[in-house]
Subunit: 410 residues, 2 copies
């Protein structure tokens, strides 16, 4: 008997019929003798409806109130799923984030989970009750309702799995696993049976939409085995995201992640002295804007430098304004920006012991005359920023160049 | 400077535009120097949408989960109204029933308020913040979300006004006050400037839909002056519901209330001995079904009796089943029921010192050949149950017979 946390996304609970289907899946898992905690998102379309109401009144809406509003989306789903489970004879209890005390900081609209009280859930599980928890939300220390930001329901699921020391955290979604790249862009993309936390983290941070990055961080940190599955296909085992093992190390590249959600900002001609990166990026961080890639170039023959970074495209205007203020303070030369960019990343733990991946990547792009605007590398990832219009072409040629459609031989 | 609790119903907050309008009204009251607590219902249509979702899955839905679901309706409105107020420069904070700890019992779907913690609200008011509270909901001692049942938002408003010792509780609705009877049935019905708690209580309990009965009980008990106003008409002062005063006593009949929400049940041939009413009605009460009228007839020349009572029409089937079980236990003769009935009540504190009201009422109905099925009287009310199809006719002739269209001369 295992303790399993299952998470169902908005599409999986998008109608009464689908909620009934989820209830059947939960009951099937329970009948195999498992204790089940279910985390659900808002029904698809519901969050958009609420966002439209709020923004019809004020844009941006006051964050504290916006969170109280958005949190209702998941609360509707937990009520409906618990009703469905009970109607099918399966004891179930629904809980909002506040009711199981998913304690977060008070960064409304993008709060972070600090602590989870597992008492209530354990009591229910001990009584054979299925616990149904609203994803995406929590409460701060003052009892204000908070939300976790984009994809927060995945994070809720993993955080609950960690708090409860669950045997597996299953993320049910509308795709049946993690692919070498987006099959809509590369039809020969292949589903991976297994991927390491580190690779998944890099895939997620580079825009693979299957899982939210924080959920993978959490899962890695607390060693929660994470499985991505389809809510609609019954026979796929999905992709298991787990600690690195021997077989994985043979694989050079696991996948190609990409996104168009970012925008690039450059501050030109800032004095090149210690602390300058902090002065520039500190102001951005204070505004709660997350920075992704950061590249600093040295200008030959000058005592100034240029600093380029990328932020989420939604934060572009705000970041641009802040950067202009910073530029004034630092007497920098200029601020430039571009929100028509795309980021592509090759990810693979095999990269650590293989040279030549970067040069193969650059050669492949050069052959298609695709200009690389920024490069950033980590131990298991090489990311480049290119003009948005070349994105699909670049992903296709890289997928082919690295033979990702083929099952790797061990 | 006064402390005013304002309550806006579903129609008043039924769209973004109307929520903006409510925000303007709140701000206007605040600019007159008042401290404002606002209680809101779900946007019109929203509760029905949620009910349809739940009942599409299971009917009846599990009460605890149903309440968690329905409570989202009001939570959406508090978020949106607080966003609107903040956008107009008025500091505001939204609270769910749980967040201001409106403590109730655990009778899901019809919970009763036990206690309210006014600390958070007082702190906000002291800082000049408008407090926006979700009506209709609370939490029980275990932190489960509860709802107060039909019209519960009025009850929330009055309970908050009582807890905060507010100077006035204003109920904004789509009618501009309390009328002598429903103007849709009697076009000459007249708006009352003032009515006593006792009369309003009898009006409400007899089906006048303007206010929910528990809210009037609360208001009377804690002496909270209650004003019913229109959200849409700017210049009407509505109807003030307040303690009885000298001028009111001159009025014979204040109004005619009626409803079609009830059903009649009779248990025939039960042994006529002490405790029998308790044995019959105790079982109904245990099922949390509210009983309205109760009439017991003595059968001449028999040691058995018949007991008739009315319940809400929604509870009819359930009550019928329970009554059949009770009949078996008591070896009663039969159980009969009718859900095609209507109740009409004449209400007026003047009745206490005037004889002849009942006989005038019965004469008026007899002249129209309307058969009276049940009669029940209180100090300031005479209620009769008749066949549903005569309802409108009966209300019209009674309104005329008692000259209710005329402003009373003092």
């Amino acid at each position: 008997m295992a303790l399993i946390v299952q998470k169902y996304g908005g599409t999986s609970v998008g109608s009464i019929e689908r909620i009934q289907h989820v209830a059947d899946k939960v009951i099937a898992a329970r009948q195999q003798g498992h204790d089940i905690v279910v985390v659900v998102s808002a029904m698809s379309g519901e969050t958009n409806r609420l966002v439209a109401l709020a923004k019809g009144i004020s844009d941006p809406p006051k964050p504290r109130e916006y969170d109280a509003l958005l949190a209702t989306g998941e609360q509707v789903t937990i009520g409906l799923l618990a009703i469905a489970l009970e109607a099918k004879g399966c004891p179930a209890r629904s809980y909002t984030g506040g009711q199981v005390r998913i304690l977060t900081d008070n960064a409304f609209t993008k709060a972070r989970i600090l602590e989870i009280d597992d008492q209530t859930m354990r009591r229910d599980l001990a009584q054979g009750t299925v616990v149904v928890v609203a994803g995406f939300q929590g409460v701060d220390a003052d009892g204000n309702i908070t939300t976790l930001g984009r994809g927060g329901s995945d994070t809720t699921a993993v955080a609950l799995a960690a708090a409860l020391k669950a045997d597996e955290c299953q993320i049910y979604t509308d795709v049946d696993g993690v692919y070498t790249t987006d099959p809509r862009v590369v039809p020969t993309a292949r589903r991976l049976d297994k991927i390491s936390f580190e690779e998944m983290l890099e895939m997620a941070s580079s825009g693979s939409k299957v899982l939210q990055i924080r959920s993978v961080e959490f899962a890695g940190k607390y060693n929660v085995p994470l499985r991505v599955l389809s809510s609609f296909e019954e026979n796929s085992k999905g992709t298991l995201i787990a600690p690195e093992d021997a077989s994985m190390e043979q694989v050079l590249i696991s996948g190609i992640a990409f996104n168009r959600d970012e925008a690039k900002l450059t501050i030109l001609g800032v004095p090149d002295k210690p602390g300058i990166a902090y002065q520039v990026l500190g102001g951005i961080a204070e505004a709660n804007i997350e920075v992704d890639m950061i590249v600093q170039n040295i200008r030959t023959g000058s005592d100034t430098t240029d600093l380029t970074f990328t932020v989420h495209r939604n934060d572009y205007k705000k970041a641009f304004g802040i950067l202009q203020d910073i530029a004034k303070q630092l007497q920098a030369q200029d601020v430039q920006g571009d929100d028509k960019i795309a980021k592509i990343a090759l990810v693979g733990i095999g990269m650590r012991s293989h040279a030549g991946v970067a040069s193969q990547m650059f050669k492949t792009l050069a052959e298609e005359r695709i200009n690389i605007q920024l490069i950033s590398t980590s131990e298991i990832k090489i990311s480049v920023v290119i003009d948005e219009k070349y994105l699909e072409l670049a992903v296709r040629v890289l997928h082919q160049a690295f033979d990702l459609e083929k099952i790797p031989t061990l």
